[in-house]
């Protein structure tokens, strides 16, 4: 039989620990494919967050560091500054990048660090058991917003739009992984964010709307539809900058 698809080299052949229908696995694979297509595996350095993706380095077949919760962009800043010949990226959840790590995020962006940032927005804290994230939608039920998030708990934080206004930021795009077309678009955006770094263009971020069926209380299918019908209305897809 003809082989039509295979595992890309930068992805290890191991069992996943992610829940069925989780978006992290898709995003991991897209990163690995882009790294291989750009032929940068031997000089890429990935920074894993604290969140469900903390052990991203168990899947990726290249050098990685694990940063403290929220500090990936401080760690990445230093690695890139001392090793400009390497290609450095962070992979961070919404709690990591837009709550505890907001300060590091804004200032790395404002300095125009020549980095690639992959921001996995699943509107929830997956790892700690489904609490409210800064990106949780109004009305969304979580462990800490049992009645649904209301305005007193803040509005869904549009960190990508906020970063877009900074002069040193080169590229910001929001994509999703709810359909094959959207997955291909996400891959294209990830690739662009890496190419920008290769061309020394500066700070590039891709926000990826990603399902967490477990803490959204949905099936894998429903979660994908919810991104398409609800979440992407709050977080419009497309190039922000």
């Amino acid at each position: 039989m003809e082989r039509t698809i295979s595992r890309t080299f930068s992805l290890k052949n191991v069992r996943t620990h992610y829940c069925p229908g989780c978006g992290h696995g898709i995003a991991h694979r897209l990163v690995a494919e882009v790294v291989d297509e750009l032929n940068i595996r031997d000089r890429v350095i990935g920074i894993a967050p604290v969140g469900c993706a903390v052990i991203a380095y168990d899947y990726w077949n290249f050098d990685c560091a694990e940063a403290a919760h929220g500090r990936a962009l401080a760690v990445a800043t230093a690695i890139k500054r001392v090793r400009p010949e390497n290609i450095v990226f962070t992979y961070q959840g919404d709690g990591d990048l837009a709550a505890i790590g907001t300060n590091e995020t804004i200032h790395a962006a404002n300095r125009g660090e020549n980095l690639t940032v992959l921001f996995i927005n699943n509107a929830i804290y997956g790892m700690t058991g489904g609490q409210m994230a800064p990106t949780t939608l109004i009305g969304q039920k979580t462990a800490t917003t049992p009645e649904g998030r209301d305005n007193h708990q803040g509005y869904p934080l549009k960190i990508s739009e906020m970063l877009g206004i900074l002069p040193a930021v080169k590229y910001v795009e929001r994509t999703a992984v709810y359909s094959p077309q959207q997955i291909m678009q996400t891959k294209q955006a990830i690739k662009q964010a890496f190419i920008n770094q290769l061309e020394n263009k500066g700070f590039s971020l891709v926000e990826i709307l990603s399902p967490c069926p477990t803490y959204w209380g949905m099936s894998a299918q429903e979660a994908m539809e919810w991104i398409r019908d609800v979440m992407s209305k709050e977080y419009p897809l497309g190039k922000i900058k």
Binding site: I45, D63, A65, E66, R71, A74, A76, I79, N86, I106
Partner: protein, 355 residues
């Protein structure tokens, strides 16, 4: 053996500048920090000299960012450092714990000021517990060095970086506002006296060309994995305790009374000891240079009839380590002031008389 060419010159500088210069000469090529008094001379010096020597200087957005930048630069295999003063060092504790957990070499300078809280900017020694007891979470230790003069502040930096690399462990240099701001002429050594290349770093993140991928991490979730790793760390700490105790000892074998002090306080105590000895008093001094590992070996040969007075710019922190070192065999007296107060010679003399 090839004779190293050493040219020497004398330069007048502050303790803060001396540490900054010593660090760069020790091969430090990354510095990140956030302004706080009384250590602002360090980032100011680094902002000029780090780029001039081909290194990287970053004014971080906070001490939290600064220590995590140091984590990154260390993970990438460079000699990296940050500096701060007490409140800022409190903010760094999580990051220091991660550095210890990931077994990264890094140097942290704490130019101590008065606390708790915002406290004041006067010199103090009240972060001793935080520095020596692993101020962050988890079972780890920082190696802690306490210079007692501007010269030593300069000389101790290559030692700090060597120890960090040798043991893959955070090293804290504990100074204070007085030592940091004080100006003294110091002997500068211009020579290739430090060889960062001596410590190979095959674990560093450089890109996985021609080797298996490296991972720098402190997360060990599998059954038994973290306990095994922590036992590895414990083995390392035991080796450090055995090999790295440093102290200065003056007349401690023949003295009837021994003052134990470190850093700025030891400097004051030292001049008092010389004065009292010229008046025929049998007095000596033990000055711990490593606060962790605490130099217990300096106390081993003391005799039962000798008396000890611990003098600190805090309310009895190192005192606990001295008590542990001597057990209950000795009478240990204490004098301490904090929050800007520095024990005066007259107060020390009175405390000696009360022993």
């Amino acid at each position: 053996m090839r004779q190293e060419k050493i040219t020497k010159e004398k330069v007048l500088m502050t303790g803060n500048e001396a540490m900054a210069r010593g660090a760069i000469e020790a091969g430090c090529s990354f510095y990140a920090g956030y302004p706080i008094t009384p250590q602002n001379e360090i980032p100011a010096y680094m902002a000029i000299q780090m780029p001039a020597s081909g290194g990287v200087f970053i004014q971080a957005e906070s001490e939290i960012a600064a220590i995590n930048m140091v984590f990154g630069a260390a993970a990438a295999g460079t000699r990296a450092m940050t500096s701060s003063s007490s409140p800022g060092v409190s903010l760094m504790q999580e990051g220091i714990s991660y550095i210890a957990g990931a077994a990264l070499p890094a140097v942290i300078l704490n130019v101590m000021r008065g606390g708790p809280g915002l406290g004041n900017i006067a010199p103090s020694q009240s972060d001793y517990f935080q520095a020596t007891r692993s101020g962050g979470h988890g079972d780890y230790r920082c190696i802690v060095l306490a210079p007692g003069s501007v010269q030593e502040a300069y000389d101790i930096m290559p030692i700090a970086f060597d120890l960090a690399d040798k043991y893959r462990n955070p090293v804290m240099v504990l100074s204070d506002g007085m030592l940091g701001q004080m100006m003294e002429p110091i002997q500068i050594t211009k020579s290739p006296r430090h060889q960062p290349a001596r410590y190979k770093k095959p674990w560093a993140l450089t890109g996985c060309r021609n080797r298996k991928p490296n991972v720098v991490k402190s997360f060990y979730i599998a059954e038994g994995e973290l306990e095994r790793w922590n036992l590895e760390l414990q083995k390392k700490y035991q080796a450090i305790e055995k090999n790295e105790q440093r102290l200065e000892s003056m007349f401690s074998h023949e003295a009837e009374t021994i003052i134990v002090s470190y850093g700025t306080m030891a400097r004051i105590a030292k001049s008092l000891v010389m004065k009292l000895r010229s008046r025929g008093k049998k007095i000596g001094l033990i000055r711990p240079i490593t606060l962790w590992p605490f130099p217990k070996k300096g106390f081993n040969s003391l005799k039962r009839n000798q008396k000890i007075l611990v003098v600190e710019m805090s309310y009895g922190q190192m005192l606990e380590d001295v008590r542990m070192a001597v057990g209950d065999k000795f009478k240990v007296g204490f004098l301490g002031r904090s929050g800007g107060g520095i024990p005066k010679e007259t107060e020390i003399v009175r405390a000696l008389e009360r022993l």
